[in-house]
Amino acid sequence: MNMIQAINSALDVSMERDEGIVVLGEDVGYFGGVFKATEGLQKRYGKTRVFDTPISECGIIGVAVGMATYGLRPVPEIQFADYIYPALDQLVSEAARLRYRSAGEYTAPITVRTPFGGGIFGGQTHSQSPEGIFTHVAGLKTVIPSNPYDAKGLLIAAIEDNDPVIFFEPKRIYNGPFDGHYDRPVAPWSRFPESAVPTGHYRIELGKAKVVREGADVTILCYGTMVHVAKGVVEESGVDAEIVDLRTLVPLDIETVAASVKKTGRCVVVHEATKTAGYGAELSALVQEHCFHWLEAPVQRVTGWDTPYPHSLEWAYFPGPVRLTQALKRVMQD
C-alpha cells in the first residue's frame, strides 16, 4: 500500500470496529477526498457516517467537537493544513481544553486529518507546516507518520485515543518516499518494505519514536518527509548518523531522543516549517536540558526559512539535501 491506501485502510478498519466513528470534511464523501484517502467509505458505511461538509473549517471542527460530546468519535478532514486557521479557535480553545475545563465531564476525542508540507508546487496556501502551532497548545496530541505502515498504525491509535489528535499527513510522500532531490524520479512505495501494510487492525502507540537508522556520530531528529531527506543525505554523505523518526511530537518520546543524543554527542533537528519558534526550537531546548553534558557541538536546526512558502522558489525554500549536509558538516567540525 501507499500512504493514501494505508490511511484509507486505517479508516476502514476502524469504522468497521466502531460504529461511533464518523468521517466528515470537504469532498470526503461521494468523491472520496481530493487525495482519495476516504474513497469507498461512504459507499461502505453510508452517508450518515461519511459525509461532505460545507467549506467551513470552523464549522467542520466545531461540529466534530459537538458530535464527540454526543458520544461519537469524529475524524474530520481539513483538506490542506494551510486551511486549518479558521478552525484554530475550535481546536485550541475548545477541543484542546474541554476535558480540563469540565474536569473530565466532557471530552473531545476527535482526530483531525490534514495533509501538510511542501514540495508539490502548492504555493503559500498548499505547502505550510503548522505543526508547531499545535504542539504549543496544552491538550492536543500531534502525530506525523513517515511511511504507509506507520500511517495506518498511528492513525488507528489516534482514532482510538480519547484525546483530540492532529494527524498531519506529509502529502509529498503519499505516493513514495522523497529524498529531497526534486530533479530525480521518485520511486513508488511498492519498492519499499514499509509498504507491506497488514489489511487488519494494528496500532502503533502514540508517543513512541523510532530509530530508523542506527549511527554513532550524530543524531538527526526528524519526522514526515524529512525522514527520507535525512536517509538520503546520510547515504550520500557517509556520515554515520542515527536517524530518529519522532512520529509523535506531543507527547514526545524523550527517552529515545535523549538516549540517541547521549550516545552520539551531536544533534541536528530537521523540519520543513519556518525556523523561529518552530518545533525545532523545542527539540533543541529539550536536547540541551537533557543532554548538555554529553553534547560536543551546538545543536543545529535545519528548517524552512522564515518566509511564506514561495511558489516558484519552492526548492530554494525546502530544507533539502544541501542544507542538511551543511548542517551535518558544521556539527561534525566541532
Partner: protein, 419 residues
C-alpha cells in the same frame, strides 16, 4: 484623488439612541400587539414564514392576559414553577453579585431582566435535550432544579467545585443536567450544538439540542458556520439569540441591528426564524415549544431572537452608567419578565401579592442557606480552595512525562516556599 467632481464618501459608525445624561424615550418604539402574530404549522417551510423574523411573537398583553395563537395554555403548576425559578434566579444573582463585591470570588454575571429567555425555554424543552449555553443562562440550571449550592461552589472555586477551580466563576459545566461546559470564547458552542444535534439525528435518537448566544456575538464566524451546517443537514437544533441590546458597551447596532433583525439572519440560510418578546415568558415558552416540536419532527432548525434588555451591567467588571442612559432599563417598553408573569398568574386567580412576597422571602432564604453551605467549602481567597494535586490532571486522559515533570517541579517549588 480621482479628480472627478464627486462628493466625499462618509463612513457610517452606528450610535445608540441614548447615552449617559440622555433621557431614554421609547415613544417611537413600534410596540407589537400581543396575540397578533400568526402561528404556522410546525412543518411549514421557512420561506413561508419570513414575516415572523421581523414581527414579534407576544402572548401577554399590557393587562397580563394571554392572547392569540401562541398562548401555550400552560398548567397553573408550570406557570408557578416558572415564576419561582425566575425569582430564584434573580435572588441568586443578587446574592452572588454581592458575594463578589465582598471579595468572596473574582467575577460575577447577572442575567437580570433576561430570566425568561432561559427559564421559559428550559421548561419547554425535555430534560434530556442538550443545552449549549452562553454565560448568562444560569436560569437553565435553576429551571432544571440543579442544586444551587453546586453552582456557588463553582463560583467560589472552592474545594467542592466539581470543576476543580479551573474555570472562571459562572462558567458551569453540568453533564448530569445536560448542560454543556461554558466557554469564554464567544459562540463556539453554536457549531458544537449543531454537531451534537447532527449526531443525535444520525443515530436515530429523539433528543434535540439548543444553543444560546448574545446578539453581539452573532458577528462571530462560528455563528455563521453553525447556521450553514444547521441548514444544510436540517439539524434538530434550536439556535437562540439573546438580543439584550448591549455587548459590554457596544449597542446592538454594532452587530447589525440597524439594518435588520437578528431573527432575519435565519432567512438567508433557509432556516425558520422567530422574533420573540424575550420578556414574555409565555412567548418564549411557546416559541421554544414550537421549535422543539419542529426539530423533533425532522423539520430542521429554528433561530429564535429573544428581544430583551440587559437590566444590569455586563459583569462585575463593568460600569454601564459610563455608556448608556441611566433610565433606559426602567423605561424599557417590554417591561420586566417576572413582573409580567406575576401579573398574569394573579389575573388567573392562582396567585396573589402576599404569596409572591412570601416566595421572594423564601427564595432569598434558600440562596442564603445554600451560600452558607457552600462557604463551608471555602471561598476563592481564603485558602480553602482546591487542592493543588489535580492541576496537571485532565490535560490528557493520562499524564505524559512532560506534565509529570512539571508537576514534580511545582511540588518542589511549594516545598521550598514552605507551603
Amino acid at each position: 484623488m480621482t479628480g472627478r467632481n464627486l462628493p466625499p464618501l462618509s463612513l457610517h459608525v452606528p450610535e445608540p439612541s441614548f447615552r449617559p445624561g440622555d433621557e431614554a424615550d421609547y415613544s417611537s418604539f413600534p410596540m407589537p400587539v400581543a396575540g397578533a402574530v400568526r402561528r404556522p404549522e410546525i412543518g411549514a417551510a421557512p420561506a413561508e414564514m419570513r414575516d415572523l423574523a421581523y414581527d414579534m411573537v407576544r402572548v401577554l398583553d399590557p393587562e397580563g392576559v394571554a392572547q392569540g395563537p401562541w398562548d401555550p395554555r400552560l398548567s397553573s403548576e408550570t406557570l408557578l414553577k416558572m415564576l419561582r425559578s425566575m425569582a430564584l434566579t434573580r435572588a441568586f444573582d443578587e446574592r452572588l453579585y454581592r458575594a463578589q463585591r465582598q471579595g468572596k470570588t473574582s467575577f460575577y454575571m447577572k442575567c437580570t431582566g433576561e430570566e425568561a429567555t432561559s427559564i421559559a425555554a428550559a421548561h419547554a424543552l425535555d430534560y434530556d435535550d442538550m443545552c449549549f449555553p452562553s454565560y448568562r443562562q444560569q436560569g437553565l440550571l435553576i429551571a432544571r432544579d440543579w442544586p444551587i449550592v453546586d453552582m456557588i461552589n463553582q463560583i467560589y472555586s472552592n474545594r467542592a467545585d466539581r470543576l476543580k477551580g479551573r474555570q472562571m466563576p459562572i462558567m458551569y459545566s453540568v453533564r448530569d443536567a445536560n448542560f454543556f461546559s461554558i466557554s469564554g470564547n464567544l459562540t463556539t458552542q453554536y457549531p458544537q450544538a449543531v454537531g451534537w444535534a447532527m449526531a443525535s439525528a444520525a443515530r436515530g435518537d429523539t433528543r434535540i439540542a439548543a444553543a444560546w448566544c448574545g446578539e453581539g456575538s452573532t458577528a462571530e464566524g462560528d455563528f455563521h458556520s453553525a447556521m450553514t451546517f444547521a441548514a444544510v443537514y436540517r439539524a434538530p437544533v434550536i439556535l437562540n439569540v439573546i438580543n439584550n441590546q448591549w455587548a459590554i458597551s457596544s449597542f446592538s447596532g454594532f452587530a447589525g441591528a440597524e439594518a435588520t433583525t437578528f431573527a432575519a439572519r435565519a432567512i438567508g440560510y433557509g432556516i425558520a426564524g422567530l422574533r420573540v418578546d424575550g420578556n414574555d415568558a409565555l412567548a418564549v415558552y411557546a416559541a421554544t415549544q414550537w421549535a422543539a416540536d419542529r426539530a423533533r419532527s425532522n423539520h430542521g432548525p429554528t433561530l429564535i431572537e429573544h428581544f430583551t434588555y440587559r437590566a444590569e451591567g455586563h459583569s462585575t467588571s463593568d460600569d454601564p452608567t459610563k455608556y448608556r442612559s441611566a433610565d433606559e432599563g426602567t423605561k424599557w417598553p417590554l417591561g420586566d419578565p417576572i413582573a409580567r408573569l406575576k401579573k398574569h398568574v394573579i389575573g388567573l386567580g392562582i396567585w396573589d401579592e402576599d404569596r409572591h412576597a412570601a416566595m421572594d422571602r423564601e427564595v432569598a432564604e434558600q440562596v442564603k442557606a445554600a451560600q452558607r453551605e457552600a462557604e463551608k467549602n471555602g471561598v476563592l481567597h481564603d485558602g480553602l480552595k482546591q487542592s493543588f494535586d489535580p492541576m496537571f490532571e485532565d490535560v490528557f486522559e493520562t499524564m505524559p512525562w512532560h506534565l509529570e515533570e512539571q508537576r514534580e517541579q511545582m511540588l518542589e517549588e511549594r516545598k521550598a516556599a514552605g507551603i
